[in-house]
Symmetry: D2
Subunit: 345 residues, 4 copies
Amino acid sequence: MIIVARKDVTADQLDHIRERVEAAGLRTHVSRGETRTIIGCIGDEARLAHIPMLSIPGVRSVHPIMRPYKLAARDFSADRTTKVQVGDHAFGGAACLVAAGPCSVESQEMMLQTGRAVAGAGATLLRGGAFKPRTSPYSFDGLKDEGLRILSKVRSETGLPVVTEVLDPRHAERVAGHVDMLQIGTRNMQNFALLKEVGQLQRPVLLKRGMAASLKDLLLAAEYVMSRGNMQVVLCERGIRTFGAETRNTFDLAAIPWLKLETHLPVVADPSHAGGRRDLVAPISFAAVAAGADGLVVEVHPDPETALSDGEQSLTFAEFNGMMSDLKAFAEAAGRTLHRPQAGA
Amino acid sequence: MIIVARKDVTADQLDHIRERVEAAGLRTHVSRGETRTIIGCIGDEARLAHIPMLSIPGVRSVHPIMRPYKLAARDFSADRTTKVQVGDHAFGGAACLVAAGPCSVESQEMMLQTGRAVAGAGATLLRGGAFKPRTSPYSFDGLKDEGLRILSKVRSETGLPVVTEVLDPRHAERVAGHVDMLQIGTRNMQNFALLKEVGQLQRPVLLKRGMAASLKDLLLAAEYVMSRGNMQVVLCERGIRTFGAETRNTFDLAAIPWLKLETHLPVVADPSHAGGRRDLVAPISFAAVAAGADGLVVEVHPDPETALSDGEQSLTFAEFNGMMSDLKAFAEAAGRTLHRPQAGA
Amino acid sequence: MIIVARKDVTADQLDHIRERVEAAGLRTHVSRGETRTIIGCIGDEARLAHIPMLSIPGVRSVHPIMRPYKLAARDFSADRTTKVQVGDHAFGGAACLVAAGPCSVESQEMMLQTGRAVAGAGATLLRGGAFKPRTSPYSFDGLKDEGLRILSKVRSETGLPVVTEVLDPRHAERVAGHVDMLQIGTRNMQNFALLKEVGQLQRPVLLKRGMAASLKDLLLAAEYVMSRGNMQVVLCERGIRTFGAETRNTFDLAAIPWLKLETHLPVVADPSHAGGRRDLVAPISFAAVAAGADGLVVEVHPDPETALSDGEQSLTFAEFNGMMSDLKAFAEAAGRTLHRPQAGA
Amino acid sequence: MIIVARKDVTADQLDHIRERVEAAGLRTHVSRGETRTIIGCIGDEARLAHIPMLSIPGVRSVHPIMRPYKLAARDFSADRTTKVQVGDHAFGGAACLVAAGPCSVESQEMMLQTGRAVAGAGATLLRGGAFKPRTSPYSFDGLKDEGLRILSKVRSETGLPVVTEVLDPRHAERVAGHVDMLQIGTRNMQNFALLKEVGQLQRPVLLKRGMAASLKDLLLAAEYVMSRGNMQVVLCERGIRTFGAETRNTFDLAAIPWLKLETHLPVVADPSHAGGRRDLVAPISFAAVAAGADGLVVEVHPDPETALSDGEQSLTFAEFNGMMSDLKAFAEAAGRTLHRPQAGA
């Protein structure tokens, strides 16, 4: 950490600043410039995190040098990317993996039908919400335990692993008993009680970026999970909230290569929430894979027009199959493989 | 709701759109313009919420007419503002109320000392976090149950009511047993499991706006609490996340008068998190009250330089007392009173 | 346009609203719902643009139905995409075109060297700024007329067409005399005096999106140019300003497919300003092309470390050549060709 | 400036970094920490502005220490606030000054009528646009030279000084010949050709913050004007563009006290564009003055319902007079005076 002193800092104030830093176990080095005095702090910067530097008299600005996350930082892993295994496939390997399915679990039949269709098109993971976070208390909020039961059933009938969102720390263990991967949704990215809970379970976590979360915030949220012992975290870019009103969210494409440089965790994209419109799903998907994403999470519904949630952004089976067919060339251009069963849907 | 059809909509598609709307119990009225056909939907718009209109063939755009919240809407209350009683005072009345105290409960002694100081300066509510949401898992996250115990003790010794944040639905009832008002923090504004839980308790709720929450989202979060039976909600503007990097957040001043026009719930401001800097707390406070805020939530610490969190933005006792002294004239200019005990600290 | 009346609208107010609309030459149609009264306005909505509807007593909200741009709208052109010819190639055709070169023209030698290198790698257009907009008045702001002279010279020596930014309406004609395409920069996207001026010239225009411009604003800026008679406009997404601080700007990837659906004008991307970092240029470029961009504008410099501006985000010749080599597969996956000369640099 | 080296920086790279810095005339000081090496640069940081540090091998991050503006910085002026004289009054003194008038000059009669009304209510400056920047090329864009003639006439008849916007560097001198203060609008805050032009005129400048301009960008725009010799700049906060859609812009209240701490230039607020709604103008005005603003710019129109632009956010004469009457107490609470003629309108 580098501390820049105010122009009018006194010798006593400087001494006091140094004492606070040294009391935390770091060394200090003072450089007096023509117009500014600078205090370099040498040692483990994390030990300074508790000190409100800007409230110490004489301090003008503070410049952290170290990253605030450790386990999530690229340096932590010798491998290029951590592999997160879900069923027979792993996020973070040569294959670009696709999770697909409806926003909400609506019935066993529709989940079975969807599972078969998306698996036929190349998805290796079925998504579907049993507990749904909804902006309005009057909207459909999921089948809950009945939804979990359906997911279990569909999983055993189709052999397709399942990912679903967990909203409440009280449900985490129960949900983990029914599915293969736990999703932490956008609105809960900084629900620390929930992050700690899934950090104690041995289930892969799909961590979606918060609507106003910086990429550092996202990595710190992953760090919450990892610091509790669960290292199987997949990060998901799904669009952020900006002034742009033409699309549901603003898909922050550059987050993907930035994260790939900064962390060893796999990174996937959710093109459905990003664009919020069916006709934007394919181009956003192609772009995400071109930019290096390890996979996608795509909303697919047997009949989007009757979907209980997110119908506007859900693909039909035929649209999904067409998109997967076109995606193959982009995955290959990116040096990736894309799973496509012999007899596609 | 008004539905605008695509230019090339067919008669069959139009019929289908009308059937979907009428099946939900509304009437439709079709206007054919020179370039567009418009379907007006007459009746209870809420019944259309489940239909993904944009995924119905022939629909180009959809224009909701009704507000998505009911209990929180101004129309719901004949009174100008709902009064939310906390201890001897009520938010939403003639008095502008101030809650003050440290970010975190650090010890019984500092809370007692702070409680007496802020009460002496005119605060009618003591704030202090026992459970702290922190962006990094390595930061101090509160004394937890010990913090609650301290708050109970200080409350009984000073007679000052207490507000503290609740982070986890599993703690809600326990926290409510120790304090007078429950705070839902910024990062949990859309933690719906938590909102439902505090909606079932009979404790006033201080609901802080999320960093990327629209004002409609904020009112819908209040609606979650209210629709469970707890009507005692106070809304808090505390700054939003924008491109502006000079202040910790961007204080959305106009949210205050907008909310006062739109809802009957009291509205307060948090100048400490908004600006993130001690020297911005007073001007933001004056402005909030000038714009019609029903109160303030201010961070105050006996020794900000040693605070375990938010020291940069915490006022000293003397600074808080000075601010309250200056605030009086602004409150009066706004037609409000400000509580100031005879023998101020 | 649809006008929603206030709940308590009087019959006189309703009559007055209708009179204002009808005086502008439109017909009105009133629907009385249970809770709201709605006035549909039938006819040319543009005639209502001058009326401040929300200031008319009894009006609660206004819902425009028509797009505010005409010439830029997809409907205007029967072709899928307008072709904008620059030199031997056209933006908007089967080929994905790349403009490349330094941020600033620094000398004739470096421009010649760069022109040859980027042409060898497949660029069909040389970029370089003679007049530079700089946030600080103390930064290098271009060689100005000497820069134009260099661009002319390099253009005639290499045969490569040239694009450069015009900042000042007084320079527009002079700049147009030296180059093949005029760039309107981000900070000038709503410099209407400048837009009108280039609208009167017969030179293709590269119109960069403003940092806070909605996509509708961008299309209206294009409409300024087109409504003066110059239909040769290429739109450029280059990142917007959001809370995201990890990259220089937030590249709004979804703007590309959204624009391709909404307008007939070609759309290109600037990956250099979007990411602001050399190692993000290639992934953003691949993504833009995968999402359907008609081309790219890339900063390339013989020695980025000594560049007078934007060195951090400029590719070396070798990096540019490598990127173009990898780009080919993405262009082909998108059904596009990419120009690559036989004997690459 | 402080340069942080990459973990794996080589001795040769370190030498090269130091050479680049020292060649610019600064001294360097290297601190080797346990995990990072830091190069402190001692001397005039502005000399490093041309060097793209991040493109030098071995550099990981760069931390500027000095402010990029000089003339606009608070340090530059011994006075607390620079006084900018316009007519008989000065911005930046004890009085809080109000400029008022319509968005557009529509006729001589309406300007005379408005001038008299706003002067009667206490305004000391008449505003009105002769050249109007409009998002759409099809909107009314001002009476232009006829508008200037009207402003001159009204100014001489009423004695009220006049402020109007200048859009085009070719008009700057002509406009300055007719009015007392030149406004640079939001969309032109970084129109550097225009800033340089008004920097050469001896007319006070009202510089409005750009929609996506950081406060540092705003001060650098002021620096453009000042560095050309014109030190009479008044800064204006008018709202920024964020995700917030409930108000036309997001009024960044904290910008006012932040600017007052950072610069010696007067700071005013435009509550009309900030809120975009007539009923938000008064509370935003009160708040701005409470937070320390030196004045206001308010849209007032004889008949907002027929205004050719911005009718939704324009006050009637009676509303403006009422607002000024209420404003007095807030100005006084802020230690300011507010001009109110004996016989108010």
